[in-house]
């Protein structure tokens, strides 16, 4: 063996390796770097001469107007439900692929990870003689492993050449939904490998001379369930990007290439400087929060996301080490690039909403993870339902940053508890009443309950965790396109908020069935049915757990036709507690349901949840408690039990003195229950996770990671820097094994009886 090689040999070997790549997969060099690249030679040349900040400001306004125009086009023309209800973006990137600006109303996350595929194109296709990049080209992409939230989003990316020089890149992204995965709708929780995820487009050229290549679009149409949608929205994105191109060229004509290059670069650098300034304003220290995902969407298991934010001067370090290891056959993994994009979104949405929407927001922040953890999964892992950890990333900031921000003389927004962070909406697929094959999701994802604030209750159903001014839609319009009938459209749920001095905002119940289709089905991809999703802040309660409820084996339409008074009201609690549909099979399930067929008139029910509460429930103004009762958000029993309010149930008049006395008494009870911290830890803290708990992640030491699944007697403890993925058994196999065991037991009992002559 000759391990010693010279530098010359090393160089030759490296050249060979570079020249002989078998597969241009996701490139770690690109995918692990979320920072703005150093100034290019062109940028340096322009900026070293100095550029008028006010001129840049003026040009920034023009770019914003152009992005906004293109956004409006996509919103108007888009056929995907995601486009109709606001899940889209248009964006501009520097020639090096740095995300400079996005449309004011665009989904930040989409653009915040679309710079990765652009960097891939720059690195691999520009100089590849079989591909090349030239004016009029357009590239499509959807595989999140090359950058993206998940494979249901498709981007169109176009280089902009001006006088022969590549000046910038433009993009448009829509949450398209259907992508040919093993389940319809583009979000297959059942995907056990990446090969179940449907079409996986690495960035490739699909447009030449501003024309979509018909052979390629046919291939793509052939790969998905909804060829109509695939074609229609490819045209939409292309034409929106072309319109954006026209506008940027007009800016170049008017102000010159230097002005555009300088404006984009200054926009990035100024934003980065501002972020560092804001970090410097924070007190030094470390704050933490532990987040838990309670399901892999196939089985219930606790997966920890460990968050520690450290501020030192103008450095901020987000440390996620100690997080659960990746699953090899579950879809709830995400890659690091997507995770960072969600972090950027959450920072903008919850902490510094006045900052420009650009990658420079996250660029100065250091992010540390354990490779092969569920938030930093390697490429072979399925990640079709990466939304689960990504939504956690969106809200990860709220608790730790509230601790940093609370006492600052200048806040940039309100102190807020965590928003409800689950995709509580129906994903659907099948044959529409018009005979079209389709698969997608409902706009109800856009109405998550807001966390309570330090000054007010959370707003009900305010926005999704990943965007603002998104729309939960109109059901009359939705019912035209799909056979889904809403029996409960958007109905505020009772007794299911995050309580506190200020309560979280509520989401809503959704009760759905299908009618007029030969084949239709639903799935839901949510966690939080066992363990609360949204955490409270400074003593506020977390939101409760929410379940998926089903009434199978009924046809509600026949029932209503036969007896219109059979149902009093479509309310989840009443339906499940009173069971008015005779013969129906009522069940309560966790919200991770893989696709299943829904016969006409069968009923599926879920609830969009509440944000976390803020502050001590005993400090809640009794008048607000009465208002909640009046608005049917709270029952009288719970008002007494949680808030300790004494009142007349008929008139809702509060007995102030009795309330005060009751609350004082309860405070005394708390003190009596209380114990010193060390004593509490002694009683409460265990050395390891409970043996009967499916648990993944660190326990008290972030360097030691547990993976335990009692169902298959798995218990592994790993060093954090040597994480490996885990297979989970097929729940159906477990069920079969359980039934077989029962059968064997019964058989044995029978044989014993027979042997005994009984």
């Amino acid at each position: 063996m000759h391990d010693n090689i010279s530098a010359e040999e090393r160089a030759l070997l490296d050249k060979f390796l570079a020249d002989n790549k078998m597969f241009l997969g996701p490139d770690p060099e690109i995918m692990r770097d979320h920072t703005v690249t150093p100034r290019s030679a062109a940028e340096e040349a322009v900026l070293k001469q100095g550029f008028d900040t006010h001129q840049a400001h003026h040009i920034r306004g023009l770019i914003n107007a152009a992005l906004s125009e293109a956004f409006t086009m996509v919103n108007q023309m888009g056929a995907a439900p995601g486009a109709k209800w606001g899940d889209l973006v248009t964006a501009i990137y520097t020639a090096e692929g740095n995300l400079a600006m996005i449309a004011p109303h665009g989904i930040i996350t989409f653009a915040a990870c679309a710079f990765y595929p652009i960097r891939f194109i720059i690195k691999n296709w520009v100089s590849d003689p079989t591909v090349g990049v030239k004016d009029g080209d357009g590239f499509i992409h959807n595989d999140a492993r090359y950058g993206g939230v998940h494979n249901t989003d498709q981007s169109m990316m176009m280089p902009l050449y001006y006088k022969g020089e590549l000046i910038c890149w433009l993009s448009s992204t829509i949450h398209e939904g259907e992508n040919g995965a093993c389940e319809p709708g583009g979000l297959p929780a059942a995907a056990e490998s990446k090969y179940d995820e449907g079409i996986k487009m690495s960035p490739f050229k699909v447009v030449e001379n501003f024309q979509i290549k018909r052979d390629l679009v046919t291939f793509l149409q052939n790969s998905v369930r909804d060829p109509k949608l695939q074609l229609e929205d490819m045209k939409v994105k292309l034409h929106a990007v072309m319109r954006l191109r026209d506008r940027i060229i007009a800016i170049l004509d008017q102000f010159g290439r230097e002005a555009l290059i300088a404006t984009m670069r200054m926009h990035l650098e100024d934003t980065e400087t501002e972020v560092r300034r804001r970090i410097r304003e924070l007190p030094d220290g470390t704050t933490r929060v532990l987040q838990f995902m309670d399901s892999s969407l196939r089985e219930n298991c606790m997966q920890k996301i460990s968050v520690a934010i450290t501020v030192k001067g103008d450095r901020m370090i987000c440390d996620f080490r100690g997080t659960a290891p990746q699953f090899m056959n579950r879809s709830v993994n995400t890659n690091l690039a997507s995770f960072k994009a969600a972090l950027a979104t959450g920072l903008l949405q919850n902490i510094w909403p006045d900052l420009p929407h650009t990658m420079a927001v996250l660029s100065p922040i250091e992010v540390i993870t354990d490779p092969n953890s569920i938030i930093d999964a390697e490429g072979e892992m399925p990640q079709a339902m990466s939304l689960m950890p990504l939504f956690k990333a969106c809200v990860a900031w709220t608790v730790p940053m509230a601790k940093f921000n609370y006492s600052l003389p200048r806040r940039y927004s309100a102190i807020i508890a965590s928003q409800y962070d689950q995709a509580a909406t129906f994903i659907y697929g099948g044959l529409t009443q018009h005979g079209d094959v389709t698969g997608n999701f409902c706009g109800d994802i856009n109405g998550m309950g807001q966390g309570a604030r330090s000054h007010a209750d959370g707003e009900h159903s305010v926005s999704p965790v990943f965007g603002f001014m998104a729309d939960s839609g109109e059901h009359e319009i939705n019912e035209e396109d799909t056979p889904i009938i809403r029996l409960g459209a958007q109905r505020l749920a009772k007794d299911r908020v995050g309580f506190g001095k200020y309560r979280g905002g509520m989401g809503y119940e959704q009760i759905a069935t299908a009618r007029g289709s030969g084949m239709w089905g639903f799935m839901t991809g949510c966690e939080g049915s066992k363990f609360p999703s949204a955490q409270g802040l400074f003593g506020g309660y977390s939101c409760p757990a929410y379940q998926l409820l089903k009434i199978k084996g009924v046809n509600i339409f026949e029932t209503l036709n036969r007896d219109p008074k059979a149902i009093e009201v479509f309310d989840i609690l009443k339906l499940m507690n009173e069971r008015p549909l005779a013969g129906g099979k009522y069940s309560s399930n966790d919200m991770g349901m893989t696709f299943e067929l829904c016969d006409e008139g069968e009923i599926y029910m879920i609830c969009q949840g509440s944000g976390g509460g803020y502050g001590d429930v005993l400090e809640r103004d009794p008048a607000l408690v009465m208002k909640d009762i009046e608005e049917d958000l709270l029952s009288a029993d719970l008002a007494r039990e949680i808030y300790k309010v004494v009142f007349d149930e008929r008139t809702l008049v509060v007995d102030e003195d009795a309330t005060r006395a009751m609350r004082d008494d309860y405070r005394r009870q708390r003190l009596q229950r209380g114990k010193p911290f060390d004593a509490f830890c002694k009683d409460w803290v265990t050395a390891e996770p409970p043996a009967d708990l499916p648990y993944f992640g660190s326990w008290d030491d972030n360097r030691r990671i547990y993976a335990q699944n009692p169902a298959i007697n798995l218990k592994v403890v790993m060093n954090a820097d040597q994480l490996q993925g885990f297979y989970m058994p097929n729940p159906k196999d477990l069920q079969i094994a359980s039934l077989e065991a029962q059968l064997a037991k019964a058989q044995a009992a029978l044989e014993a009886c027979q042997a005994a002559g009984r």
Binding site: L231, E232, H239, S463, E479
Partner: protein, 709 residues
Amino acid sequence: MKRVSVDIGGTFTDTFVVWDNQYIEGKALTTHHNLALGFNESLGDACKQLKVDPSLLLSEVDSVRYSTTLGTNALIERKGPRIGVLVTTGFKSTIPLSRARGYGEGLSEPEQMDIPNAKRPQPIVPIPMIREVRERIDYLGQVFWTLDEDDVRLRIRELVDAGAEALVVMFTNSVVNPEHELRVREIFLEEYPAHLLGAIPMLLSHQVAGRKGEYARGTSTIMDAFLHQTMYHGLGTLELNLRAQGYSKPMLVSHNSGGMAQLNSTDALQTVHSGPVSGIAASEHLAAAAELGNVVATDMGGTSFDIGIVDQSGVKHYDFNPVIDRWLVSIPMVHLVTLGAGGGSIARYDRMFGSVELGPESAGSDPGPACYDRGGLKPTVTDADLLLGYLDPKNYANGRIPLNPKRARQAVEDHLCDELDLSVADTAKLIKRNVDAGMANGIATELRTRGYEPKDFTILAYGGNGPLHACGIANALGVSRILAPPFSSTFSACGAANVNQMHIHEMSTWTVLFNPATRGFFNDYDGFNRSVEELERRGREDLLRQGMDEQQIRYRLELDMRYGNQRVQTAVVTELNRLHTQKDVLKLMDQFHESYGARFGAGSQSPETGVRINTIRVCAFVEQPKVAFAKLRLGDKTVAPPSPVVQRDCHFVGHDQPLPTPVYDDQALAEGTRIEGPAIVTTRATTYLVEPGWTYRAAAQGGVWFVKE
């Protein structure tokens, strides 16, 4: 022609009187406690100029037309009845949850982004006043859950017991089958005696808005119910006031659809924003009469900047789901975009980019800009305009508001100069440049999203600050022609004098012109034609009820069409009032193809994914005589400028040093007057700023052109 039209705004009540060949403008302060007083004073002002007794004038005019802000004010003050709402079971939270995005409707972009501080508006209907009723209809109008009449009776009783003063019925899919909503009204009539019915109006959602979308239709109906009482009392009082002064005809009320109707044929919701919309109507008529081509109408006031589009080919731009106050509604309203940029917009230092940001905070009129000397301490656009030398401190707003330049300077110095490291003059220039650019970007976005190019437009600049900023906006936009229109200080009132009596009726439809699955084409001509005929009938009845001659009634058919499953609502105006053949179907699709391509780009069309009609809309109207605008085209006639009243140094964007700038008075309004910029013309009504490179040319009837050669 003899005619009176009135626009009651927040500050002024404007009157525009047409008295044969004379056009007279009257003005008075709005009297919010009793609008009739301001109206009388404003009319008196016009009559004084005309030397005609108001009673004589009112007895001789063909109509009194009225644009009101009553509805807007009632919404701001939340002044209206307690409303109870009946909805389909399962939809009880649709209104309060406001499609999630309701937290931000009607707010500025920064406010929308600041979700942690989100706050929904105070609801018009509190949650306890919403009741569910057992019933359900599907998207095709088929009943799958019959109306539970006992439930209806119970819920109505509960709402009445809870103090409902008006009732709204909003049932899902009622626009395709109104059977259940209509039955609720019958039950209401059965259950309650007439005198109670008279006191508690019941509004059915399908009669207020004809399109699908349960939330927007619900809010429309609720707002209509909420404003109904206030508006009818207010307008009724005004009508009585007119009667007392000798006016015997029905008063006509301007609508935000760009038409007008008698009071008894007006829904309250149709009156909201009717003033600004009348300004667009005036622009439309002016553009046609004066052959201006495409026009973008801009109204820059103290707190906002309104933009409207007039297409010379007659294409109408509507918002089908406009935001009124803080709510999305479902009525066809003339497209009007309001940007938060006016004279009162506050300028602040933008630390991040080292420049100046304008708004969304506004000093409004109280305390107003710092230079008003009424307690405002922050620098505003008007302060910058004053410091740049454009405004005469002693003659602002016709001398009504004295300006204090020291206050303006202090505000700019205290808040901006140090941070920017700029002089007061340079800072003020930056404010002007940025506010003008912001408005230009707003106009550009509006035009381009509809497939237009700004350079193909003439800017129509009116409103108190319009002619002051028009050149700056045009510079940023690349537009070379601006017209400050005749009668600009009463332009909305002038617009009301030009609208037709018109009613718009629309209905949702599921009409598939081309089905990609079957590759078949629409052929149910009778069904389609019946729908059109029904909408024409409704419009016809509205107009006949108001005494119109049936022979004079005209109809315009508009179809909202889309490809595949799009959401886009591209209204196609078609001369094909009926469908008879496959050729007609193809022609309709061709027309859609063309208008879609013009808007979104050639090749963007997707007919292969299906072509559908979503909404059928019929505008029924009667053409009526209009104000005769003079030919305003730029002619050869040139009159030398009068002697300047004064000359002062003014600062201009793009010029490092101040330029000596002559200032003229009303004499410069003489037709043909030509003045090269820089120059300022200060008249009784407004200030015209002619920036360097622009030429001022006075046209007929007090109109003024700004031209960049």
